[in-house]
Amino acid sequence: MENKKKMGIKRVADCQQRLEDRRSLSETPFITGNQIIKLVAYSLLAVGALSMLLPFAWMFLTSLMTQEQIFSYPPEIIPNPLHAQNYPEVAKAIPVVTYFFNSAVVAVITTIGQLVIASMAGYAFARIEFKHREPLFLVFLATTMVPPQVNIVPLFFIMRELHWIDTYPALIVPGLFGGFGIFLMRQWFKTLPVGLEDAAKIDGCNPFQTYLRVALPVALPALATLGIFTFILTWNSFMWPLIVTNSDSMRTLPVGLAIFKGSFRETTEWGQLMACAVISVIPVIGVFLLGQKYFIKGIMLGGMKE
């Protein structure tokens, strides 16, 4: 026994010695192996980041160029002089303000609706005991496996039957439902302590009041995650708004911009196109930068769903 203990101590000491040896071995006076690795890591990351950001910079710079500057060869990288005229001009060419307004209305209402519907269902699945709870939850979870493109044709007919084509409800209502939000909210509510609702129950709150006053306030981080996700996804969504809108007054920004691009295909209005692209990207980048922490958390959660 004593012997074994001694052996153990000796092995630990041995390991420590070997670790020391390795560390001192790599500490040559000039550059250490670790520093080389770090240098390689930094250069890789920098090159990658540059290739991510350059297209955005190029978009912004091109939006500030005149026709001659855009079609100069070799390309003029920094426009001189700056030409901001593209922005008012694109607003004259297409109803950018209407598109922007429609996108904002659809994205905001969809986000709020998702938050209400998903948090209620998620709360019930996590905190209320009832019959057939788990199988029912699995049904919701399974719907996340259905690719939306498979449903797009029948969904279009449902919209037609409801006389919703080219209206806000068609743009908003189908986007309110989805298994992911319910899953995310349920995961969050499940982590809350068991006795959380007790005080509220004793005070005579019914389950809805408990959800509203006790559960929702502590679920703010999960709501933020789901909200940012839904907002960005809805703002960017393209196929569905393309199919269910057919008038300029109902189009969202991506669809309006796509039609503008199509009409100028292979022609020349790159400056105006870029200006409109800059306008469309600002809200999502803004929301992303504000809620980056929650967005990344949501992705990690999505990554753990198995």
Binding site: I37, P75, A121, I128, V150, P174, W235
Partner: protein, 311 residues
């Protein structure tokens, strides 16, 4: 005497004979749960579950939206299987998905490995890599179409190619160009998931590596990568499925051309349904896509069970 336990009511009868019967009732909690879930359930039923069945049914009819739908059995499917374009579209879709997934795994993995140490400005890097992921595809399409422009685009100028490579206008280069754009968009998302996977590897494992002298490539391939297999499988499933669903990119950059070289399933489905009004054919394509995605998911899950080390 009545004892209520959750949604089961037990009536114990004390008069005369001794006995009890169990009666199912709806407790107050059950009714509350119904109200909480009802909105989500109705919406999911009407806008997700019912359409799956309608879509399946529409695959067996011929319908051009003008004359009434006509039942034709499996004709839509048989027609598809005898059409050359179907195989081309299938091949294009697989080709696009495979190459997109390959590069959307390798590049983010390397970047995440680089980022998984004490790096100054890690937050900046994460933000920068993430921007393409949150950007609307139309914006990406406009910028990259301009970058790829054979005459005035910055890419050919940077690469010194003159106007020799016509990118989106060339049958050979259109698909590679689209793959470049989609990998560019995917990198940030996959990198974050890989980073989470790397950070979940316990510090003790890394210390053990150091003690045993396993460093650099040896450590990466023999320790880190095997421990990362669950993440790797998750990312590959998600990326392949995402690639099979691509639509915006094709619609906005090539419209399936030139010469159908970038015609892929969802875009073909869209064209059949909303441009040619072949509702039956479009629904058949949709179901084939659905089945491919389902099979892929199941196959990868099976492989995962076999190969993943640390379940």
């Amino acid at each position: 005497m009545v004892i209520e336990v959750d949604y089961v009511k037990i009536e114990v009868m004390m008069n005369g004979k001794l006995g009890f019967k169990i009666k199912e009732t709806f407790s107050a909690d059950y009714m509350w749960a119904v109200w909480f879930i009802l909105p989500a359930f109705l919406g999911t039923l009407v806008f997700i579950i019912i359409p799956i069945f309608i879509s399946f049914g529409l695959g067996f009819v011929k319908w051009d939206l003008i004359s009434p739908p006509e039942f034709v059995g499996v004709k839509n499917y048989l027609d598809l299987f005898s059409e050359d374009l179907f195989y081309k579209v299938l091949w294009n879709t697989f080709y696009y998905a495979a190459l997109t997934a390959l590069f959307s795994i390798i590049i983010p993995l390397i970047l995440a490995y680089a980022l998984d140490r004490k790096i100054k400005g890690a937050t900046f890097f994460k933000t920068a890599y993430f921007l393409p992921y949150v950007t609307p595809m139309i914006v990406i399409a406009i910028v990259w179409a301009w970058i790829f422009d054979p005459n005035y685009g910055i890419l050919n100028w940077l690469l010194g190619l003159g106007d020799s490579v016509k990118w989106l206008y060339d049958e050979k280069f259109a698909m590679p160009a689209l793959i470049i754009v989609s990998v560019w968009k995917n990198i940030g998302y996959n990198m974050i998931i890989f980073l989470a996977g790397l950070q979940a590897i316990p510090e003790s494992v890394n210390e053990a590596c150091e003690i045993d002298g396993a460093t650099g490539a040896k450590r990466f391939f023999h320790v880190t990568l095997p421990l990362l297999t669950p993440t790797l499988f998750f990312v590959s499933i998600m990326t392949v499925i995402g690639a099979f669903q691509v639509f915006d990119l094709i619609y906005l950059m090539t419209e399936g051309g030139p010469e159908n070289s970038t015609m892929i399933m969802v875009y073909w489905l869209f064209k059949q349904a909303f441009e040619y009004f072949n509702i039956g054919k479009a629904s058949a394509i949709a179901y084939i896509l659905f089945i491919i995605i389902l099979l892929l998911t199941l196959a990868q899950w099976k492989i995962r069970k076999k190969w993943v080390l640390n379940e």
